[in-house]
Subunit: 465 residues, 2 copies
C-alpha cells in the first residue's frame, strides 16, 4: 500500500469502527462516538464494545470488530493499554485498513514491550497505526473527528487550508482551539503521540501531497528518521510553507519531552540547522506558530520587502516603522503619481510620507482612498494597516473597507488593532472575513517578514528548476 | 511651587474649568465635559465657551475663565490652536493652578513659534502646562478623565497600581484599553504629547513619589533632559519598577516620531544603555509592555530564580521548560518531604519531577494538592501553572483554586492558558481576581524572568544602602 493511502483511510474514511465505544458518558469511547454522530458523519459507524449489547447512541453495537464483516477503513481504539494488542490483532484479521490507538500507557510510562507488540502486530498484518497515546485525527471537510475532549471546552475551526501535526495532544488541542478562535480554517489535524508506527516522515509526506493543505504546522519533539525527514521537508517546503515549533530546545525541555512521549529530542542546534537547510520556517513560540499560520492562510506571497504603513495612530506607526526595519523590511519610495493622489485625498495636516499617519479622525473614506492609491503603487510589495478602534473615525465601516481591500488586493496586507472589547469585536469581524489581524505592530511585522522571506525562498527555488 | 504639586493639581483636582466645553456632541469639548459629568466627579466643574450661554450639560457656562472668579485647580483647553495663547494668558490672570492643552496644531505640524508662545506664557504666569497635542490625564480614583475619545470604544481600567505615561495618545488609548481588558488596574494616566513645558523628567519625578503608583509604564519617543532623567530614574527604579518602551529605535521609526510629536528620538543604543544603567526595564514590544505590567500588578517579588512548573498538558510543559531555561531561570530540586507528599497525592502515572505533568484529568483537587505542597517548598522561588481548559479535568473550580493559591502564596505565580472561547472566559475570571494569565508558555516565562531580574536588582540596591 502506498504510504499516502494510510492517512487517506484515516482522514477520508467511509467506514469507522470505534472500539471502546460506550453508552456511558464518562468513557472516552462515548465522547468519540458522540462526536461522530453529532458531526453528521455520513459514512458507516460501528461501535464495538465487548461489554455492551444492542445499540450505542442509536447504532448497532458489536462485541468484536470481527463480527462486523464489512469493509472498515478505520478503527479507533480507546480501551485499556493491556488489551490493545489482542484487539489490534482482531483488526488485522478483520482486514481493517487503518488504526488509531488513542489509549495511553505505552512507552511514555515505560511500557516499551507493550508498545513493541503493537508495532509487531501492525507489521504482521500490514496495518498502518497512528499513536498510541494521541488524540487521533480531524478532517472537518469529511466530518471526521476522533478527539475525546469535551466539545464545549473547545472551539471548532472552520474548513480551511492549515494542516497541523503534533506529537503532543495538549499542544494540539490548545492550538486547534486558537485556530478556531482567530477565525482561520483547518484542513487536517493529526496528533501522533508516541509515533510507534506512523511518524513525522509519513505525516509530512502525506500533508505535502494533500491538495487541500496549503500550509503545514508541526509541533515536534523528536524526529525519528532524520535523514528521510530532511529529504521530504526539502521537497515539500518548495511547494507549501512548513512551520515548525521544536519542543525540547533545552536539556530541561528535552528531558520533559522524553518522559512525555518517550521521544529523543536530540540536539536543538541540529534541528535549527535542519530547519534552515530544508526551508522549514521555525516558530520560536506558540504565539509565532499561530501568527505565521494566520498570514499564510489569508495572504498571497510577496514580490519584495517594500512595506507601506498606513495608520490612524502616530505612536503605533512609530513602533511599526521600527518593527519593519528591525525585521529586514524597508519602506517603499511611493511613485510621484501616488504621492500627488494622496496629497489630494488626504487632509492638509497629513504628511505624505511613510508611515502615512492619517490622524485619529480617519474614516472609511480616508482608509479606502489610501489603500486604493498605495495598493496600486508598483513600488509597494506589502501593506501594514494600523487601525486603532479607540479613535473617533474607526468603526465597522472601516473594518468593512479593510475586508474589501484585503480580498481585492494581490499583495499581502496585515492589520494591527490593539485594544479591548470594542477592538476585539472588530478584530473578529475582520478575521472571520479572512483578514489577518494582530494585536501589536511587532507581531504583525514579524509575521509579514516571515511571509516575505518564504516568498523569496520559494521564488528562488522556482528559478532553480 | 514644588513640581510635584503640578501634577497633583491636575490629577487630584477639586475644581476644573473646561475651556471649549460645548453642547454640541460633535465637539471634543462636549466629550470631555460629558466624561466629567457622567463619571460622578465631585469637585467643581466650570464649562467655558465664548460662544455659548446659559448651561452646558446642566452646568453654568462662562464666556471666559476670568468670569469664574473662584479657585481653579485645572483648566483643560480644547480649542483651535491659534486661540490657545490668549486663553492661556487668561488662565494666568485668573490664577489657574495648572493647565492641560489638548489641542494639536503646534510643533508637530511645524508651528514652533506658536508652541513657544505657550511656553513663554506658562513661564510668565508660573503655570504648569501639559501638552499640547495630548490626551491629558486620567485618575480613576478621583474620577478625573480628560480623554476625548468615545467612551463606548474603550474599556475603562479599574483602580489599581499601574501608572502609565505616554508621549503618543494613540499608544496611550490602546494600552489603557488593553489594561482594562486584561483586568488589571490603573492608578494614573498621563499623555504628554509635545511636552512643551512638563516633560518626562517631571512626570517620572511625580510618579516616583506618588504612593498609589506601584509601577510606572512609559512610552517614550525622545527624552529632552537626558541627564536629569537618568538621575530621577536611578532613584525611582530602586523603589518601584519602571517599564519603558522606546519608539524610534530605528532611523525610520525615529523620523516618524519626529513628524508626530516633534521629538528628537536620539540614538537607540544610548537609550538602551541608559535603561540598563538606571534599572529601567525595557519592553521590546507592546506585548511585553502589557505582559510585564501585569505581573508587577499582581505578584510579589521573588527571592531567587528556581521556578517550578505544574501542568495538565505534557507538550505545553515541554515548551515552558524550554522557556524557563532560555530565560535564565532553573528548576528547583524539591525537598524530600515535598516529593513524598506529592507521590502520595498524585496518581501513580505522574512522575514526581519537573515539570510536574499531572495529566489531562487533573481536577481542582490535584491542582490544589500540587500547589499546596510546591508553594511551601523552601527550594521553590516561583511557580508557573499551566492550566489548559480543553482538558476533561479543568473548569471553573480549577480556576477558583488557582485564584485561591495566588492570593495566599507569598511567591510569584503565573498561569498559562492557551485557547479560544471557553479558555478566554476562564482567563478573564482569573485575571479579574488578580491572577496574571498568559496565552503562551513563552510569554509567561519571559514576564516571570523579568520580575525575577528586577527582584534581584532591587535586593542588591537595598543591600547597598
Amino acid at each position: 500500500m502506498d504510504k499516502y493511502m494510510y492517512f487517506d483511510y484515516m482522514l477520508n474514511s467511509k467506514s469507522v469502527a470505534i472500539i471502546g465505544a460506550s453508552s456511558n458518558p464518562e468513557k472516552i469511547g462515548y465522547i468519540i462516538m458522540k462526536n461522530f454522530v453529532s458531526s453528521g458523519f455520513n459514512g458507516e459507524l460501528y461501535p464495538v464494545n465487548i461489554k455492551e449489547e444492542g445499540e450505542i447512541l442509536g447504532y448497532k453495537a458489536y462485541k468484536s470488530v470481527l463480527d462486523i464483516k464489512k469493509d472498515i477503513d478505520l478503527a479507533v481504539i480507546a480501551i485499556p493499554a493491556q488489551v490493545v494488542p489482542s484487539v489490534l490483532e482482531e483488526c488485522g484479521k478483520a482486514n481493517v485498513k487503518s488504526v488509531i490507538v488513542i489509549s495511553g500507557g505505552f512507552s511514555e510510562v515505560g511500557n516499551i514491550d507493550l508498545q513493541q507488540k503493537l508495532v509487531d502486530i501492525s507489521k504482521e498484518y500490514n496495518i498502518p497505526l497512528l499513536g498510541p497515546n494521541c488524540l487521533g485525527v480531524m478532517n472537518q471537510k469529511e466530518r471526521i473527528n476522533t478527539l475525546f475532549l469535551p466539545t464545549f471546552k473547545m472551539d471548532t475551526p472552520k474548513i480551511g487550508g492549515v494542516s497541523f501535526a503534533t506529537q503532543s495532544g495538549a499542544v494540539g488541542s490548545s492550538v486547534l482551539d486558537m485556530i478556531a478562535d482567530e477565525g482561520f480554517g483547518l484542513s487536517k489535524f493529526i496528533s501522533y503521540g508516541n509515533a510507534a508506527d506512523l511518524d513525522e516522515c509519513d505525516i509530512l509526506n502525506y500533508l505535502g501531497q494533500d491538495k487541500d493543505t496549503k500550509s503545514v504546522l508541526f509541533y515536534l519533539e523528536g524526529v525519528r528518521r532524520g535523514r528521510e525527514f530532511m529529504e521530504i521537508a526539502t521537497k515539500v517546503a518548495k511547494i507549501k510553507p512548513i512551520i515548525a515549533i521544536k519542543g525540547g530546545a533545552t536539556s530541561a525541555g528535552s528531558q520533559a519531552a522524553h518522559s512525555h512521549t518517550a521521544s529523543l529530542a536530540g540536539s536543538y542546534e541540529a534541528y535549527v540547522a535542519m530547519f534552515k537547510q530544508t526551508g522549514i520556517i521555525q516558530a520560536k513560540s506558540l504565539d509565532e506558530l499561530l501568527d505565521f499560520a494566520k498570514i499564510f492562510e489569508a495572504e498571497p506571497l510577496a514580490k519584495g520587502n517594500r512595506v507601506a504603513i498606513i495608520t490612524n495612530g502616530g505612536g503605533t506607526g512609530v513602533l511599526a516603522s521600527d518593527a519593519v526595519y528591525a525585521n529586514g523590511m524597508i519602506f517603499p519610495e511611493l511613485n510621484e503619481e501616488s504621492k500627488a493622489k494622496l496629497r489630494e485625498a488626504m487632509p492638509a495636516i497629513v504628511n505624505i510620507r511613510m508611515p502615512l499617519d492619517m490622524a485619529g479622525d480617519a474614516d472609511e473614506k480616508r482608509f479606502g482612498d489610501a489603500l486604493e492609491i498605495i495598493s496600486n503603487d508598483s513600488n509597494v510589495d506589502a501593506i501594514i494597516v494600523i487601525c486603532l478602534f479607540q479613535t473617533p473615525g474607526a468603526d465597522s465601516k472601516v473594518a468593512e473597507m479593510l475586508i474589501r481591500y484585503n480580498s481585492m488586493m494581490k499583495k499581502p496586507m496585515v492589520v494591527v488593532s490593539a485594544g479591548g472589547t470594542y477592538t476585539k469585536i472588530h478584530r473578529s469581524i475582520m478575521e472571520n472575513s479572512g483578514v489577518p489581524v494582530y494585536p501589536s505592530p511587532e507581531r504583525a511585522a514579524r509575521a509579514l517578514a516571515m511571509l516575505i522571506n518564504y516568498s523569496k525562498f520559494k521564488n528562488a527555488k522556482i528559478e532553480e528548476r
